[in-house]
């Protein structure tokens, strides 16, 4: 399976997860060639994890602190002013986990898969260089960039 085959799944799965647990709507989605160049890295959060199953690779999420804070408020049912940076980070990590789990459940169907713990940190991903897909999602709480890189060799559990 090529990363490009995730193109329809990512907006669909992200919509489902964001709608059900973050009370957020995906308004638009676009494929991108590279990760956004951000003016100040400190203002952004990035998480990534590894998935291993019939298909293996890496999955990541990149979003602004403001978007993360807003999503965390929705997720935790608290006021945005009460959300700490640690809360925003924890919720962004969990969102990465849920988005990847949702996508992989669709891809794997009957088969089992394992996700590693989400790790903070931005990885350089370029759609033209890796077997990667980068998707920009505009939501009513801000912009999310979701990416997936598929490994060359499929791996069975």
């Amino acid at each position: 399976m090529k990363a490009s085959e995730f193109s329809g799944l990512i907006p669909e799965c992200c919509s489902e997860v964001l709608d059900a647990m973050y009370f957020t709507t995906v308004l638009d989605s676009q494929l991108k060639e590279s990760m956004p160049a951000e003016p100040a890295e400190a203002d952004f959060l990035s998480f990534h994890l590894r998935f291993v199953g019939h298909i293996s690779g890496r999955f990541g999420l990149h979003l602004s602190q403001g978007t993360a804070r807003s999503l965390a408020a929705n997720f935790l049912g608290e006021e945005e002013t009460d959300i700490s940076s640690a809360d925003a980070g924890e919720v962004a990590g969990e969102l990465t986990n849920m988005l990847c789990g949702s996508v992989m459940s669709r891809v794997e169907g009957e088969d089992r898969f394992v996700l590693s713990h989400p790790e903070p940190g931005n990885l350089v991903v370029r759609a033209g260089l890796d077997d990667a897909l980068i998707s920009r999602l505009d939501t009513d709480n801000g912009v999310l960039t979701v990416w997936v890189v598929v490994d060359g060799e499929p791996c069975r559990l």
Binding site: M21, E90, E94, G101, G109, R112
Partner: protein, 131 residues
């Protein structure tokens, strides 16, 4: 009757959300007990009375599958209902966890009503009408 509920998840944020859903559902909770993985959960289980275990699968040190096996193979713990709450929605995984002894399976993302209904099914009672 107040129930002691053990929430096992490596995400502190998810543990907070589960607690919030349980609160809104109107479940009479005596104590919330929390663990970040299966090893921590077993320590709690051997020291506290627990009426329901809600566990994730993918966790460091000891995952939810191993925790379930430990619980089902321990005569002192074997009768505690186990509700799996996981991002893994693959049919193979759901069937496997049920066959290993899980009493229910809720996949993330979940609607609060779904989690609440499963809890009431396992503990007895009726969900709060606001759901």
């Amino acid at each position: 009757m107040a129930f002691n509920i053990l929430i096992v998840d490596d995400s502190p944020a998810m543990r907070r959300v589960v607690r919030r859903v349980v609160d809104i559902a109107g479940v009479d909770v005596g104590n919330y007990l929390e663990a970040g993985n299966g090893v921590e959960a077993l320590v709690v289980l051997h020291n506290e009375w627990v009426d329901l275990i809600m566990t994730d699968i993918n966790m460091p040190e000891m995952d939810g599958e191993e925790l379930l096996l430990e619980v089902r193979n321990d005569p002192a713990l074997a009768t505690i209902p186990v509700l799996v709450v996981s991002t893994d929605r693959s049919e193979g995984r759901v069937r496997q966890m049920i066959s290993l002894g899980a009493d229910g399976y809720v996949s993330k993302p979940f609607l609060p009503a779904t989690l609440s209904q499963e809890m009431y099914r396992l503990l007895g009672g009726t969900p709060n009408e606001s759901f």
